[in-house]
Symmetry: C2
Subunit: 555 residues, 2 copies
């Protein structure tokens, strides 16, 4: 009997939304040949990752086995699937495969980071296939909220795996290929061992709606607007951008794309042919000459991103354009949890300008890009796999998705980041637990999530920071008095005198009384000074700041 | 003609949700006798107020005129209306009036802060009235998601004002008085000059639902649950707590209240008689002896608060109780924008334990406590005021509410914090702009929002903090080399050597080359050292940390 096995190991995206990275392997245990599906990012927030630029999966496990890795395959161009490729490429250094539109985006990213864009290889969709070690891989067109999403058909001696990538069931997605149930049935016919399947919308209990349902409502809204119209959506949702632009054009408006990502996505779509007809776009400079009621802006920043076009318009002028009383702003988007406050801030800024804001609360101006609960069941039904492995979702999504599958008699398992699953048998089983985690892009460097750097930032943000400086002379006697600097700490507390002075007096008293043994011992001295500084602060202001103690010795 | 005027001045709550504080005044300009309606708090977040404990309105304007202030009136016991009373009381020092339940809560708060609870005076509802200088004030029972909310009927020589406080139209609120349209019509009959009216739910386009609609669905859910049940809601929503407890009791479960606020609210309700029948509650110690399928926990922390009972249960055991595979957790609550991530974290923790989480996405297990758009129009219709002044809401809510009123021919105005409105004439007009702002409770001290303390914390959180120490000898020559400490800054960057060492070398090079003039000038020296430290960091790690420069001189 063969000792070779088929493994599945999520390094990101399983137990969270974002930062997708899934490893498949086939071979003898420990010697599997590997492929990596997706290498995405997640986005930081002030609560847990202040100051961080991007969050990426920790790929140490994979990097240590780079010689076993055959290739990376990117299913589609969303940042949470493609965003880390250029940042982590040099640790893996294998070919990166993607369909034309996705490859176009990936190449731009590689160029920006100084990597060779030729490492990105365009693949044609199914029935074309790639031989990657023991694997044969095809990208099967699947509908999603970005052009050219590819579900992966992965064959190996242990059987056939379908990795859906992110998808929805949309028979008329406007741009890109419609979902084709017959195609999925056809590729499933030989028998599918495992369906590794998107889970993000499993709690939505109605059938998903098609992108094509939006045009009438959007067109009506824009045609009835008396002033300038601006609308935002994810730039990568090319179909939506097209729907918005066409609605503007039909209302006799000239279209302006605002924001770098918006222009780049349309560019990539035209270059790769996923978009053939798109309304004429004018430059923002030309827009100055056109009456505002004949203009329509399509802007980046639907999630309230501070530097994007939408937020800049909310603050005031952006590239000469300004929204005013009687204008309309449309959020053709859903607010991702965590971004509510930023989006609401923008809505209120527009409200102060007298701009009418329309969002998705009516359900008329946005549809999701992910398969809802009933759609997932339909997919299970079409593919009829031996097992369903829920991927891309928080724990609660994976759990609910596993339940749906099990209810219908399919084997399933909740496999979160770091759980290596053996898919060789009739049901998934845990083969190993791998240390996984997060790598932060912080400025221009990569730091580990557990390095303590971000923890220290959070502590300073919560508690403030006090710096105590003491100079010790050649005889280890204090030279002058201790010196205190505060940052992010209240200046005055209970005693109504400056906290700095009270703290300096307490510290001075201590060093004057301390024995030679303490004064000579750096660790001991630091520890005592820290304790005193924090206790004094606690008495005065009811908080214990972080403390840095600097003991300078003249000896 | 009289020169006396009626003014309205929001100091908090108008242009935001939370932190309500509304001033009314009557008299000659500048000499008005004043009353303050509500004195609430808002809650901090990491994005804008890290480390802060509570946010309160800046009442400087009012404190400077404390001798003109007759009284404070608290409409109801929600924190955003009552929360700052005990913190700011000593700057105002006038009687505080409230209905019995609200007064009970306010007294506990006064005691906790060491103030005299007797400053809180219980008032009976309409038709009882208080004479407060030129004002006559009555608390008119109105339904809301807390017992004994009181809308205020405020008479003065300029006419009658109705200040709704927070409210909903609920004809069967389970606990507390139903909304009584005839009563509101009766008090409006003499003619109402201004309806100052809750705006938070103005965008909800359906009629509000009654608290009483929830019992069947909640009862069904709990009776069908196989294991332990826990449910959370706002502790102050006594009606909901009662509905939950009764549903538990009907399902043969013993009820345990977990969390201090939960027990305190039920206590206050029983003490003041707003609650007469409540299912028997057992102590958590007794619960250990009862089979889990016969238990129902009602817990604090519906907004994901880290220290509340819900979050503690999500992390593990809380007071001996633990949820397990097959148990049910119900969020009988809505997540307030900004709290999504905390709530989702809890849901995933429960998911990992195998606990089924049910939230409000079905609409079956929660109703709002605020009047929706159509309810507000109904209120306008009943009161038929000369003018509607929207209060309590973000700018977008106030604007939408003003529109509703204007469409029906009533005068209106968007009056945000600091806008003093003159209500004497037929329409509201701006009388003055007052400086307002926010005061933070930070540990045990109060700091101003613009003091720079919180700004420094945010900067340290985003950029980290570098401390540079230089010792200058008696001749203003550097004694030893500059010394660098990093906190919240990556340790290594582009050069692959320790950032501390590279920075110290750059700083050393600078001080060795610097002229005597620079070395003698503290400001100049600090400025240069800061520039170098930040530039070196920027080259190495692509970030410019905050910098504290400490120059110690031996002279």
């Amino acid at each position: 009997m063969s000792t070779e096995r088929l493994i599945y190991l999520p390094l990101g995206g399983a137990g969270e939304i974002g930062m997708n990275a899934y490893v498949y392997g086939y071979g003898e245990p420990g010697k599997e040949r590997l492929i990596l599906v997706d290498l995405g990012v997640a986005f930081p927030d002030m609560d847990t990752t202040p100051g961080v630029d991007l969050i990426m999966p920790d790929i140490s496990w994979l990097a240590e086995r780079a010689d076993q890795l055959e290739a990376i395959f990117i299913t589609h161009g969303h940042e949470d699937h493609i965003g880390a490729v250029a940042h982590l490429y040099d640790r893996l250094n294998v070919p990166v495969y993607a369909r034309a539109f996705t490859a176009n985006l990936a190449r731009r990213k590689m160029e920006e980071r100084g990597h060779d864009p030729e490492k990105i290889i365009t693949v044609s969709p199914y029935p074309e296939k790639l031989e990657l070690g023991p694997f044969t891989v095809s990208a099967v067109p699947i509908s999603h909220s970005i052009p050219e999403s590819g579900g992966l058909l992965i064959d190996c001696p242990a059987g056939r795996v379908i990795h859906t990538g992110d998808f929805k069931i949309d028979h008329n997605p406007i741009v890109g290929e419609p979902f084709d149930p017959e195609l999925w049935a056809e590729i499933s016919k030989p028998g599918v061992k495992a369906l590794v399947c998107d889970s993000t919308n499993v709690f939505s209990q109605h059938e998903g709606r098609s992108e094509s349902e939006l045009a009438p409502a959007i067109t009506k809204l824009i045609s009835e607007a008396p002033g300038m119209v601006a609308a935002t959506t994810f730039a990568s949702n090319v179909a939506r951008v097209k729907t918005l632009a066409e609605a503007g054009e039909r209302a006799g408006r000239s279209i302006v794309l605002l924001g770098r990502a918006m222009r780049r996505m349309i560019e990539a779509s035209l270059e790769t042919g996923v978009l053939t007809d798109f309304p004429k776009v004018i430059q923002v400079e030309e827009a100055q000459e056109i009456p505002r009621e004949n203009l329509m802006l399509i802007t980046t920043g639907s999630q309230g991103e501070r530097r994007a076009a939408t937020a800049q318009l909310a603050r005031g002028k952006y590239r000469g354009m300004e929204l005013k009383e009687g204008d309309l702003f449309l959020f053709s988007s859903k607010t991702i949890p965590g971004n509510e406050k930023g989006v609401i801030w923008i809505m209120n800024q527009f409200s102060e300008k007298g701009v009418d804001v329309v969002d998705d609360s009516s359900g008329l101006y946005h549809v999701s890009g992910h398969a809802n609960g009933p759609d997932l069941e339909k997919m299970h039904e079409i593919v009829k796999p031996q097992m369903v492995i829920p991927m891309h979702g928080e724990h609660r999504h994976l759990r609910q998705h596993a339940r749906l599958a099990e209810k219908k008699g399919m084997a399933s398992a909740i496999a979160v980041n770091g759980m290596m699953m053996d898919l060789t048998g009739d049901a998934p089983k845990v083969a190993d637990y791998i240390d996984t985690g997060r790598t932060y892009l912080d400025g221009s460097v990569k730091i580990g999530a557990m390095d303590g750097v971000v923890r220290d930032r959070i502590r300073m943000a919560l508690n403030g920071h006090v710096v105590v400086t003491v100079i010790m002379d050649e005889d280890d006697e204090p030279l002058g008095e201790p010196w205190v600097d505060l940052k992010g700490v209240a200046e005055t507390g209970a005693s109504d005198a400056a906290l700095v002075e009270i703290m300096e007096a307490d510290l001075h008293q201590f060093v004057m009384r301390a024995g030679a043994k303490t004064l000579k011992d750096d660790d001991k001295l630091e520890q005592e000074l820290r304790r005193i500084a924090r206790n004094t602060a606690n008495q005065e202001i009811g908080k214990k700041p972080e403390a840095t103690i600097i003991v300078s010795r003249m000896r």
